[in-house]
């Protein structure tokens, strides 16, 4: 086990119906680093990410075996208090899905659910998290507007702020820039680089250049298997596996 492991995945296998989607996944995700799960579309990256906070529960046809340890707590164990566990992990989806309420309530939703109701506290938090994602100046005068009125790039940053609002220590991001224009993409990407000092971040992407810009640690997946994982430097400069090499050199087709 690497020093400073945050999440430890052991013998993870996942089936959807009869399809074997994730095969014998064994990997450790380092703490307070940005780990990129890299690989071509349809290789199981997103499914792996969703297993981490058990959103796979929402899909009745999914069967999952193995263990995912966060500390010494097995996330996949049926007795694990999943609601508490999910609070420790912020999620950013491919396309932003703001909650059907105004901007202010989007940020305070998670806090109110945890029983924080003092107006002054909530106001402060809203400003704090919106500043974290550099959205405060753009929306401070219209906090009561529906979140759906924001541009899609702003929505994605709002969703990130919403994820941060419950004070998680892990951030899960599923191709967080794939729906955004280049400028918004850049903004979101820079946010992740800024945030990785304080959070353990797991980001799924198929964009090689993005991975190179942000990753500390890389997990390369292909057809449901982990082909190779290691520090960004090692994977990008000295890939051991031929498949990894061809993907990184862009010759993979």
């Amino acid at each position: 086990m690497i020093n400073g492991t945050k999440i430890n995945i052991e013998d993870l296998n996942l089936f959807i119906g009869n399809n074997h989607i994730l095969k014998d996944i064994n990997v450790q995700i380092p703490e307070k680093k940005l780990t990129v799960i890299l690989g071509p579309s349809g290789c199981g990256k997103t499914t792996l990410l969703k297993s981490l906070n058990r959103l796979t529960d929402l899909y009745p046809e999914v069967k999952i075996q193995g263990s995912i340890f966060n500390g010494d707590e097995d996330i996949l164990h049926p007795k694990t208090e999943i609601t508490e566990l999910r609070k420790k992990m912020g999620l950013l989806a491919q396309t932003p899905y703001p909650l059907p309420m105004n901007i202010y309530d989007n940020i305070t939703y998670g806090l109110r659910i945890s029983g924080r109701r003092k107006k002054r506290f909530l106001n402060k938090r809203v400003e704090y998290y919106l500043r974290q994602v550099s959205l405060w100046d753009e929306v401070k005068d219209r906090l009561k507007d529906p979140a759906s009125a924001l541009s899609i790039g702003q929505q994605q940053r709002l969703c990130l702020a919403r994820g941060l609002s419950v004070d998680p220590d892990i951030l899960l991001a599923d191709e967080p820039t794939s729906a955004l224009d280049p400028i918004s993409s850049r903004e979101v990407e820079e946010l992740f680089v800024k945030l990785k000092q304080r959070y353990t971040i797991v980001m799924v992407t198929h964009i090689l250049r993005q991975a190179k810009r942000v990753a500390d640690y890389v997990i390369f997946m292909y057809l449901g298997e982990i082909i190779e994982h290691g520090s960004a430097e090692q994977i990008f400069e000295h890939p051991k596996n031929a498949l990894t090499k061809s993907y990184i050199q862009g010759t993979y087709s």
Binding site: L58, L99, P100, G110, P146, V166
Partner: protein
């Protein structure tokens, strides 16, 4: 092809104009407010007060939607959020069958089961009632509009993207909190308009209600009393006493009121779906 299309488009207007012309005879004699707010109905002496019928219609419709709304909402939530997919698959044809049953059958069922039951329930409250009452009409109506509303609600809940649930759950919300605070909020315009369509359906339903509601011209003072909704008025009397020209015109006015109310609810519901879904 274009002709058929124009015919379909023109249909409601032709209907509306027909009703207006036919009922205009009555307007010549009395003002609209006088007709609507008077409760004296004596066709033989030329007195046409629509209040008893309007109030009866409102009562029956209102109570039926009060009964149907929570049942539909909870069923839709259960079927789309909790039940296994097989259950929904089994339920869907059942709902369609319920929606397709001819209303006269609901009426017969109402007479056999609901009317005696209502009479008994009235007894518990120390009210004497034959059972042919507003409540019986409302219960039969509720059963009739449930499949109709339920179908819309299932569709509304099913089309909410799963990512919205994922977002809420990953913030530490429980499943029930997610349903209550996020999904139902997202579905709100759809819910309101499904109820609106249910109301317009209930307001216009004729035969099943007519069979159980009692058809006594009075302003009902309680749900165990008989009433006489607008559609029943038209169906029971049209073609019988047309020798009195005013009578014919009065029934047309009843039809006109019905037409307008149903159209308003229909259009209102559609407006809500189109305009509010985006803004939430």
């Amino acid at each position: 092809m274009k002709c058929c299309y124009i015919l379909v488009i023109a249909m409601p207007f032709i209907l509306l104009i027909g009703l207006l012309i036919k009922s205009s005879l009555l307007f010549g004699e009395k003002s609209l407010t006088e007709l609507i707010f008077s409760s004296e109905w004596k066709p033989m002496s030329g007195k046409f007060g629509f209040l008893p019928f309007i109030i009866s219609s409102l009562w029956v419709t209102f109570i039926s939607i009060i009964i149907a709304a929570p049942i539909c909402l909870l069923t839709a939530i259960y079927l789309t959020q909790y039940a296994r997919r097989v259950v929904l698959k089994i339920m869907q044809p059942v709902i369609d069958i319920l929606a397709g049953i001819p209303s006269v059958i609901y009426g017969v069922w109402g007479i056999i089961i609901i009317v005696p039951f209502v009479s008994k329930v009235a007894g518990w409250f120390n009210v004497h009632s034959s059972g042919y009452s507003i409540l019986a009409g409302a219960v039969v109506l509720a059963v009739m509009i449930i499949p109709f509303i339920l179908n819309i609600l299932i569709e509304v809940y099913r089309t909410i993207p799963i990512e919205l649930s994922e977002a809420s759950l990953s913030l530490g919300a429980t499943k029930w909190e997610t349903i209550k605070k996020v999904l139902t909020r997202k579905a709100f315009p759809g819910i309101i308009s499904s109820f609106g369509l249910g109301v317009s359906r209930a307001f216009g339903e004729t035969i099943a209600v007519l069979m159980v509601v009692g058809n006594v011209v009075q302003i009902p003072s309680g749900i165990f009393q008989a009433g006489y909704p607008l559609p029943a008025l038209i169906a029971n009397n049209y073609g019988e006493m047309l020798s009195i020209p005013m009578y014919d015109s009065a029934l047309m006015l009843a039809a006109l009121i019905l037409f307008i109310v149903v159209t308003i609810f229909n259009m209102g519901s559609r407006y809500i779906i189109i305009h509010y879904e985006k803004n939430i």
